[in-house]
Symmetry: C2
Subunit: 253 residues, 2 copies
Amino acid sequence: MRRNNPAGRLPEPLNPIADDGDETHFCRTCAFSGACIAEGYGKPELLELHCLVEHVGPFHAGEHIFRTGDPFRSIFAVRAGTVKTSMVDPDGHEQVLGFYLPGEVIGLNAIYPDQFPCDAVALDTAYFCRFSFPAMSALATRMPAVQQRLFRLISKELGMATLLAGDHNADMRMAAFLTDLAARYEERGFSGTRFHLSMSRGDIANYLRLAAETVSRVLSRFRQQGLIELEGREMLLRDPEGLRQIGRNLLSH
Amino acid sequence: MRRNNPAGRLPEPLNPIADDGDETHFCRTCAFSGACIAEGYGKPELLELHCLVEHVGPFHAGEHIFRTGDPFRSIFAVRAGTVKTSMVDPDGHEQVLGFYLPGEVIGLNAIYPDQFPCDAVALDTAYFCRFSFPAMSALATRMPAVQQRLFRLISKELGMATLLAGDHNADMRMAAFLTDLAARYEERGFSGTRFHLSMSRGDIANYLRLAAETVSRVLSRFRQQGLIELEGREMLLRDPEGLRQIGRNLLSH
DNA sequence: CGACAGAAATGACGTACGTCAAGCGCGCTT
DNA sequence: AAGCGCGCTTGACGTACGTCATTTCTGTCG
């Protein structure tokens, strides 16, 4: 009986890792793997893409991957761990822009200003693939699927930012946040109902443009309503469909 | 004396038009003209780009340029007039996403979902250049400057959406909105202090995620404070620097 | 010209969420 | 194990903005 979970405790979730790439294959969950499949893995150009990838990490919780103002030279695909990106406005207030899971890509919003417009900070121990952007856009020039992939990644990010910009109440924002997170975990092959929140309540609040206290209250209410189970940062979605309904105005699919 | 403006009336602003292109030159203010300058106007590929442009319009106030769900085949550069884009959420509430002036490009957010995620409606009589997107991305494959231009246009749009997503009070949002509009007019060669608001107060309110009444009140206050002069939809910025200061947290430059 | 409709301004009032403050639990460090 | 700090929760209260209602203005059409 000692080996069972004590009553009221959630079981440990798997630690999300997408680190199954090698010299000639992308990680299974990588945002660029789709481009490779489209083109056929054998192409010499894809080998080039592999050559221009540099594996970096580990970064530990709190460490910066890049900082506001750094010259834009690379984009990063998350191999393992979680990242938050944030800006600080002229008054010194932090603004969380997004959270990034294994397989997702950070740095795309630096293309226009040609320097990073935000900080990227590891929330836990994180590893990355670094792609030189000049090399990548040169490759995109020769490989339509890579170009397509880049366009779509940026355009997708644009869609996310747009949704967040709507005016919605705290319940909708929170429900949409959880549903989105779940969908992204699932998409990458992790559990879509049980996962670890790598970010603090404060970060979630900031991201959703709410006060940390409001986030606490909404989560407590969701728990009372049987929508979720939550212990510390271990999340279990008990009624994903219910959450999706609450947040539907903010969710594209 | 009859020819002078009566006291308290603003003079008529110029009607913004950017329609000075022909078969071999882009409109002066066009978002793509930069790509041409970078490459040198003479290149045969640019003539191709001209071939794939189709001039469309006029669209009259209230007419749709495209609708949510339309298959994505083209992007549009505004040649004259003003456009608003908007989504309706599952509850039927409209969400204004943006306003587009002559020289600016609409439709970029359709790349990822491969269909238009929003409606585009003319706010006054409007003309466009329609670019076939498949043709354009094929061209981008051969012309790095065109690819670069596309990346930057999308990335810029991403930056805009991000700013709007912050939580800021009504004064800041309004001041930033006016400052941004002024900067964009100026960038395209129009007056940056005196212009016509083609959109209703309701549309502005919706865009800024405020109530129409709040917009009215803020504008009245700005007028009392001597920041602006406003008569109907004719806007004169009396203290652009003051406005910029109020909205500085929302403005990147 | 006068009548009408929609847009805009202004005032009175309600509320969702922020702010402030106190208390609790959990993981460090020594 | 005790002590400390930080993240989280919960309650009490304030406020910026939304909602509702009324009035005024503007442009359009008989």
